[in-house]
């Protein structure tokens, strides 16, 4: 049952991206930016946690989850360390993802060539 919800909500979120592509012709960079900002806002107004408890990976795997952890990190760090937390918290919380993406991209770029279509 849990998996069904993950599939449905994850699918719906992605379909929303496709709707944006079809209706506004925006490119993938802008779509990613939109969804990250949606995530930040959802977390800022405390809506992300209840959504996440329900949809799990369905909302965490889309880039919305990335935006939410940025905001969550910043908010949490502000509460524990004060003002400096606003600057350190966001990247700290998402460091794993960013570092992984950069590291894997770098390694594969050393090994592989781009192929024509």
């Amino acid at each position: 049952m849990q998996y069904l919800w993950v599939f449905l909500i994850g699918g719906l979120v992605c379909m929303l991206g496709e709707v944006l592509i079809i209706t506004t012709k925006i490119t993938s960079a802008r779509i990613l930016v939109c969804f990250v900002l949606i995530g930040v806002v959802l977390q800022a107004v405390n809506l992300f946690e209840p959504l996440c408890a329900f949809a799990k990976a369905g909302i965490n795997v889309p880039i919305i989850g990335f935006g939410a952890s940025l905001a969550k990190g910043a908010i949490g760090a502000v509460k524990s360390y004060g003002l400096i937390g606003a600057f350190t918290g966001g990247l700290q919380a998402t460091a794993g993802g960013i570092a992984a993406a950069i590291a894997f991209a770098f390694i594969f770029s050393l090994i592989c060539k781009s192929k024509t279509k």
Partner: protein
């Protein structure tokens, strides 16, 4: 002024001539591919928690995302991810795997211009704005919470 009117008229005419594609197949494809990617994420997460029952949920999520990022990066390197993307559109752009693909693809593409000026500089041509906007937004949210806490 007259030129502007001609241009507007022409652009309206072009807009009307653009072939209309059926939206439903691409919406459906983005739906189920996106859903499956999320399912894979949930599967990895549950498996991690099953194998390492003592793992914190936060850590398990971090590993899940790293695993998905690795898979997407690997598929990009194999030249498969762009084919998935062509088929699924938003279904493979919106998940974290799309973020990984947007970092890996320019890194691989521009390797011929050298490691520093090719790979490293061009790595963020697509994903750079995501990190920039996300981080700026999170700083703003942090500041708002700090100010709200003072009051």
């Amino acid at each position: 002024m007259k030129n502007q009117q001609i241009n507007q008229k022409y652009n309206r005419y072009v807009e009307a001539r653009i072939p209309k594609t059926k939206a439903w197949p691409s919406l459906f494809n983005s739906f189920w591919v996106g859903g499956v990617i999320c399912l894979i994420g949930q599967g990895i997460n549950d498996a991690l928690l099953y194998i390492f029952p003592s793992m914190a949920e936060q850590t398990a999520w971090a590993w899940t995302l790293i695993a998905l990022i690795f898979i997407a990066s690997f598929l990009t390197a194999l030249g498969v991810y762009d084919k998935i993307g062509k088929f699924a559109g938003g279904g493979s752009i919106v998940p974290i795997t799309g973020f990984s693909n947007s970092i890996s693809s320019p890194a691989i593409e521009f390797k011929h211009e050298g490691i520093i000026y090719g790979t490293c500089v061009k790595m963020f041509t697509v994903a750079g704005p995501v990190i920039v906007c996300g981080v700026v937004a999170s700083v703003v949210v942090g500041l708002i919470y700090y100010i709200a806490g003072l009051i």
